[in-house]
Symmetry: C2
Subunit: 374 residues, 2 copies
């Protein structure tokens, strides 16, 4: 399809085809020619994909805003009288669509060869797409064997998908959450647990109850959704704030300054709104301090001992997929250290480290006596 | 003096007078006409002052680098065989020179009317400048009654100066530390405490000992100096890292992200180099967490209760000086809330809050349910 035709088909605020395509990038992966949008522009979400090969549009998943204060934040944000509360899972967020076969796209709009293969195997969505060709499954790939996130869930030994949204892939419009739950149940797709529907006035209390339960299980948090599924709002647990800081400070020079501050912000507003007792707040502060200093110091010690630090992942799949995945990661300038690479029941299982270059370099510099000029 | 004449007199890397003056700003304070340099440029330090009225140059105080790791940091940094260790005080850093009378300049090169008056009264440096007209006293104004810093010292009830350097004000060249100590003693000027001279190999251990002593007294840290006084290096205590974080998180939206990260960096390298036991490190982590979360949450609660938050200071002086000081602060777009204003033994004593506008505004926004779009 030429650029004029794409421009005419898309509902975009770009006035001309060239204005629209200025921010799209062209790629070809496994015979699929497509354009993808690395940042939200012209009324299109980040990760929006235009498939040259088939003419399909796969809209990006919208960025979900957060409130720091549930009351009155929830009431101010939603126009809907009722909201549903669902668990927000900590995994790898993809959109799965039938464009020249089942294909999984990352948040940024790249084809992920590993997730694509996992989706074909674990979801087997052929029947679903035969009945609903124009939709996309918005899913979290969770479990220890994934190449992107390090969070584990007790219920998942290798990987699993949870479908948290079904959307029209051309317009991006979501199914209403109630309809989506029915539809996914019908096709046997697993979904995040739900904490039910609540009136807008009851919702802050219901979120607090859900958050307390999730927090004791070290789970991430919740997403609130309006009746039509169009308005989304997220809120996370203390365990998540601390775990994210601990992950970040294990690789302290890889994560931006804003990353740090935003998590501290969530903690501070949460301890105030939850009216933590002085003892409880102090305990929270201690856990917070531990999540910052302990991983940071351990990483310095590891570098001092000559180790190479980075994020460790294990992946499993047919040999070709694993090859494609490693190529895909290296294409993003990542340095991959393979720790083990073996066959297990016909599959290839690889454990590797994504080398954290800045952290290794900066820590070595300071250990060598490098000065900080302030 | 015209710009050509200044350009000829100064040792600067600027090729032309206009290149030199591009970054200087002109000011007049209490009849003193001068140019000052807000940032280091053209081989001249930040805060360098050119006095039109008298033709005097007052060079800025150089930025003092820091190491995160004493061994080998100290050995790599110094060329000198011996270094001296002196206490680094936490106060307000000024240069005091005789330019049309004793005048105190801030780090940025502004005349501070309050510090000028304090210097005339507390130091009375007339005799010193009569004998050494071409020098400047580099001093820390410490004590609770100052308009810039909040740190207190047990030994100081109101304010006191400590002279940590004497420099030629035109060339910026320092006296050797040994000579400076004799000279200051001769004129009765107090100086920071010294931890003696050490060989370069013994210095890291000596700094550790000094830091341990200073840490138990919640004092800031040390500055190492070469024999000629030209090379300077600083290193700070755990107590300072935590206190600075606590001050910053009492006004969390006023301080940059880099402020936060740089303190965490110092903590992490220090706990590694000091080989803290697991229990000691955990205790440090808890104190760190408390210094972040507790003041942050208390400030949110204060704003929720309708208070205006900011930094609280008390100053004391003759009524005219206090007027000049408040005018000086307001000139920098600070909002000053006067809490009390009274006369005590012929002096005016004012307690005021510098209103922290970003912190008040952002916290109110989030308390009202403002969303964070990530």
């Amino acid at each position: 399809m030429d650029k004029d035709a794409w421009h005419e088909r898309l509902e975009t605020s770009a006035d001309t085809p060239s204005e629209l395509f200025e921010h799209f990038q062209a790629r070809t992966d496994h015979g699929l020619e497509y354009y993808h949008l690395p940042d939200a522009r012209h009324g299109l979400e980040r990760g929006t994909v235009l498939v040259e090969t088939t003419g399909a549009v796969v809209r990006g998943y919208p960025s979900v805003p957060r409130v720091l204060v549930l009351d009155p934040g929830v009431r101010h944000y939603f126009e809907s009288d009722r909201v549903t509360i669902e668990e927000k899972l900590n995994g790898f967020n993809v959109r799965i669509a039938d464009v020249d076969g089942t294909t999984a796209f990352t948040r940024g709009g790249y084809v992920c060869p590993y997730t694509t293969e996992r989706a074909r195997q674990l979801l087997d969505p052929g029947d679903f797409f035969a009945d609903h060709p124009e939709t996309m499954l918005c899913a979290e790939l969770i479990g220890p064997e994934n190449p992107y996130t390090v969070h584990d869930y007790d219920e998942t030994e290798t990987n699993a998908f949870r479908i948290f949204d079904v959307r029209d892939r051309t317009s991006g419009r979501p199914l209403a959450p109630e309809r989506r739950r029915e539809l996914c149940a019908e096709y046997g797709f697993e979904q995040p647990q739900t904490f039910g529907w609540h009136t807008i006035d009851d919702a802050p209390g219901a979120v607090r109850d859900a958050i307390e339960t999730l927090d004791t299980e070290s789970r991430e948090g919740v997403v609130l959704k309006s009746e039509d599924g169009q308005s989304l709002l997220k809120y996370t647990t203390e365990a998540t704030h601390h775990a994210e800081l601990a992950d970040a400070f294990a690789l302290p020079f890889e994560y931006g300054r804003d990353f740090l501050f935003s998590r501290l912000l969530r903690e501070a507003f949460q301890t105030v709104e939850f009216e933590d007792s002085p003892d409880r707040r102090r305990e929270r502060a201690h856990d917070l301090g531990e999540s910052i200093l302990l991983p940071f110091a351990e990483t310095i010690e590891a570098v001092a001992d000559g180790e190479t630090v980075g994020e460790r992942h294990t992946v499993r799949g047919d040999p070709e997929t694993i090859n494609a995945l490693l190529g895909h990661l290296r294409e993003f300038q990542l340095t991959i250290d393979i720790e083990s690479d073996r066959r297990l029941e016909g599959e290839r299982v690889v454990t590797f480290t994504k080398v954290a270059a800045s952290t290794n370099d900066r820590i070595e510099h300071y250990l060598d006596g490098g000065i900080v000029d302030e």
